[in-house]
């Protein structure tokens, strides 16, 4: 039973879940329900108050090099003097090890990752000179070159247009196809229904967890959000339309 706390305040009161490799797990819940806290505990930024986190049967902290974390946009310092390619290259730092500098191969890899995310040839630009969706893609490119086993995404879909969404989905599926587990904290319920294989409903306690088709149900959503989800209730009406 995993618990995450800030001082005496329990942000995540009890999560108990087993996720298979290659699963795409949507973590949903209202504001302040502990989504970011859960992701941060898995990333090792917060130490669990109780419980343990295992990856492939071993404590996750022992395999930290293989965890990619894509931060919430607001948490990034966009004034920092780095280019898009510099940021992507940071994904190679851990694999490079101490006292070694990224070489030509790493640069080419970074450029290839940027290319794949539709930012080819823009690697030399400062990170503030991209749009919001492009900035998100830079961080996805960084996760890509890290060759992770686990990717943590905190609200990647905020303020993202259709084209960017498509690129995101494609990449998330590519990760999953390679056996990489993806955890996405998001408020976008349509996104969850369309892209995830599993859903974790969180409201301090774990309300429900399981495969998306059986877990993403009106009853679970009501239990998670407390009757605030009008979006889902409207779906049958749309379906009746021609």
């Amino acid at each position: 039973m995993l618990q995450v706390a800030y001082g005496a305040n329990l942000a995540v009161a009890g999560v108990d879940a087993r996720v298979a490799p290659g699963a795409i797990v949507g973590v949903i819940g209202p504001n302040g329900s502990g989504k970011s806290s859960l992701l941060k505990a898995i990333a090792g930024v917060l130490r669990p108050h109780s419980g343990e986190i295992l990856l492939g049967g071993a404590p996750i902290r022992e395999q930290a090099t293989r965890i990619a974390f894509v931060p919430q946009r607001e948490e990034v310092n966009w004034d920092f003097p780095v280019t898009a390619r510099d940021v992507v290259m940071m994904g190679r730092y851990r694999a490079l090890g101490w006292l070694r500098w990224p070489g030509k191969a790493d640069r080419e890899r970074a450029d290839a990752a940027l290319e794949r995310l539709g930012l080819g040839g823009l690697g030399h630009r400062h990170i503030s000179q991209f749009s919001g969706g492009q900035q998100q893609r830079i961080f996805l490119a960084r996760a890509l070159v890290q060759e992770p086993r686990l990717v943590l995404l905190d609200e990647p879909f905020t303020g993202i247009d259709v084209q960017n969404r498509a690129i995101f989905h494609e990449l998330i599926r590519a990760f999953a196809d390679d056996g990489v587990t993806v955890l996405v904290a998001t408020h976008d319920l349509d996104e969850v229904r369309e892209t995830t294989s599993h859903v974790l409903c969180l409201n301090r306690d774990m309300v429900a967890f399981g495969p998306t088709p059986t877990t993403f149900t009106p009853a679970n959503l009501r239990a998670t959000f407390g009757g605030q989800v009008a979006v889902f209730e409207q779906v049958p009406i749309f379906e009746r339309a021609p």
Partner: protein, 298 residues
């Protein structure tokens, strides 16, 4: 020409020049990470907290660096531990404790005779009094600090840019943070003789802030910061010699003047270039929104 050469006929000016070039380079380099990691406030606290150490070794007739190193090391560790405990009032705690340290130094010193004269040289530095030994010590410690910083450049950069990822990727974030504080602390300690406790932070923060206005690349920012800090040190020292003003304060004001010039005239980030872009670049701004991929902001 003699404006430049005349001061250099004195041994004390030669030593001061060497000292100020080394200190400038060191502060300019380390300062980049103080600015990027958001440590300006903590740096100021460090500079004040080493003061009792300075006073004690002064009273004991030792090099002020010894006491300063002891207090600087302890303080760096203390701040590291304090900031680890994630207290909401971390900033105030640092402020309270280190203001008290500073006051303690002043109180100890005030028990001695000749209080005012000593206080002045300890608080504002006495660069014209540096010995050749001091220059050597500064050079050696500066080389060590710069060497460590450059060897761990990739880790310190990641930590400053994205501490969350650094932690997620399993870097020893706490150890790296304390190490960075120790490097800042050592930089402050060896620089005390040049500008003193009160003004040292200006020499650490102003050159990188200036350099940041001139470039968007970290490597260039570090190079520019080092150059700016050293040349402001030399220029300030010349001005203070000819104008008969206090050396440390003149150096700081020179750096401030260069910073203000950069604020106005810097190529992309300057006020002037911003104004010109707004006047002549309406269609550019429009382009930025319309063209999607073709973002060009210059």
């Amino acid at each position: 020409m003699s404006w430049l050469t005349e001061p250099l006929q004195y041994g004390f000016m030669q030593r001061a020049m060497m000292e100020v070039i080394i200190i400038g380079a060191l502060c300019g380099l380390v300062g980049c990470f103080v600015v990027l990691r958001g440590l300006a406030f903590i740096g100021d606290a460090l500079a004040h907290a080493v003061f009792p150490g300075v006073v004690l070794s002064y009273i004991a007739g030792q090099s002020i660096m010894i006491g300063a190193f002891v207090f600087g090391g302890m303080t760096a560790l203390g701040i590291g531990i304090l900031s680890r405990s994630r207290r909401v009032s971390e900033d105030s705690a640092i402020g309270v404790v280190f203001a008290a340290f500073f006051a303690l130094g002043v109180v100890i010193l005030s028990r001695q005779g000749g209080f005012n004269r000593d206080l002045g040289s300890l608080l504002f530095g006495n660069i014209l009094g540096v010995s050749m030994d001091d220059v050597w010590i500064t050079a050696v410690i500066g080389a060590i600090v710069a060497g460590i910083l450059l060897a761990l450049l990739k880790e310190f950069t990641l930590l400053a840019f994205d501490p969350t990822m650094a932690r997620a990727a399993g870097y020893p974030v706490f150890a790296l943070d304390v190490l960075l504080l120790l490097l800042v602390s050592a930089t402050i300690v060896v620089s005390l003789q040049t500008v003193g406790n009160i003004l040292i932070l200006a020499l650490i923060v102003t050159p990188p802030a200036t350099a940041r206005l001139l470039t968007d690349r970290l490597g260039r920012m570090m190079a520019a910061s080092v150059l700016i800090a050293s040349s402001c040190g030399v220029t300030g020292l010349y001005i203070s010699y000819h104008a008969g003003t206090a050396a440390g304060a003149t150096i700081v004001l020179t750096a401030t003047a260069v910073f203000l010039l950069a604020v106005v005239f810097a190529p992309t980030h300057g006020l002037l270039s911003g104004y010109l872009q707004r006047r002549h670049g309406h269609h550019h701004a429009h382009h930025f929104h319309a063209a999607g991929e073709e973002v060009e902001l210059s």
